[in-house]
Symmetry: C2
Subunit: 222 residues, 2 copies
């Protein structure tokens, strides 16, 4: 009985790691779709989001089932509760990747991103990819030290985000208002994606230590 | 013992209703700060967000305590689990109000909103206020019918959101890129605020019926 219970907790952890993989893959493919104006790839990301949504629904159902039947306490209880929060964040990360893909689709056959901004978008995607891969490892290894370090990567995203707004606010923006709107929303999507990765890591800290070091690590960039 | 338990569940419900009140008040004050370029009011909203954050932290702690000690099942369990989700949404609604206030602060002593957009921002605030008040009533009364109807109000927010982007994308936008960026972000903040209110209502549906009618009622506006 207890063994089956711990198997089910491990299964939950595995599913969370799989969700990080799906969310990361979605964001990277969405970025490629955006930069290459690849409609089929964009559509694939948008359609594929349902799989991440289902992952969250499944996890939530399992968590409630475990709470009702096994009535876990202490670390086991924290595992179940944090799994629900992490699944919600990862589901949202999938949405944000789909939002990037939808900007790509909206502007097809053009690319929404002017040449001078492509480097920043590539960097944002790389930081996002790094954050979500690390979040997966942190979940798998219950790695509190890794979770603490994740903030440093998120600082890079905040820096990129500010750089985007500096360019948008500078005189000499020549790409028109519509492109400025696209870039504003894209920057927000990458930044929120990173915030959710940090939130996942903070949940692992709480899971292991029983203490919230900071519940709101991210003060989204203004 | 059981009576004390049900008192604690009622107390959780009361706290959620109080959080809807705080989040709604924050958004309305943030909107006034934005339209009147009222710095003191903006600062008040930004500082006041900590109170909503604390409300969420307190609720989460109480929920975990109840799960550990009372090991609730069925409706009681759903009350505790949905309370955690609703508190997370309400906390985020407070953040979004603070984001609106931060735009007001950033542009002070000017108003970030051009004259021709003020009407839309007022409407967005009114829809937001209506949604969050209804969400509070729905929680208090466990009102499934009200929860179903909330989508109609959210449709109004989606409509406003599209109208904002139509104006931004039209030829003849004369307020520059920086203002377009502000308006883009503001529109997103109001829209996400509304999405979270709908999410709260959906949690009440699940709490009462044990079935998720739709877990993701909101496909955020592209």
């Amino acid at each position: 009985m207890r063994e089956a219970f711990h198997d089910s907790l491990n299964h939950i952890s595995d599913q969370l790691v799989e969700m990080t993989r799906l969310a990361g893959s979605a964001m990277t493919r969405a970025t490629t779709a955006l930069l290459d104006a690849d409609l089929a790839l964009a559509e694939g990301v948008i359609d594929g989001d349902a799989r991440i949504d289902e992952g969250r629904d499944r996890l939530e159902d399992q968590a409630i089932e475990i709470l009702a039947r096994q009535q876990p306490v202490a670390t086991d209880l924290r595992m179940v509760v944090t799994a629900m929060h992490m699944a919600a964040s990862l589901e949202r990360m999938g949405d944000l990747a789909a939002h990037v893909a939808k900007v790509a689709r909206l502007r097809y056959p053009l690319s929404a991103v002017p040449a001078e901004m492509r480097g920043l978008i590539v960097e944002a995607d790389q930081v996002a990819a790094r954050l979500v891969i690390k979040a997966g490892s942190i979940i798998a290894a219950k790695d509190v030290t890794g979770a603490e370090q994740l903030n440093a990567d998120d600082d890079q995203m905040d820096h990129l985000h500010k750089e985007v707004f500096r360019i948008l606010a500078a005189d000499g923006w020549s790409h028109g208002v519509e492109t400025a709107v696209d870039i504003t929303l894209l920057a927000r999507y990458y930044e929120r994606f990173a915030d959710h990765a940090v939130s996942v890591a903070r949940n692992v800290e709480y899971l292991v230590t029983g203490v919230w070091h900071s519940r709101r690590p991210y003060a989204d960039v203004e």
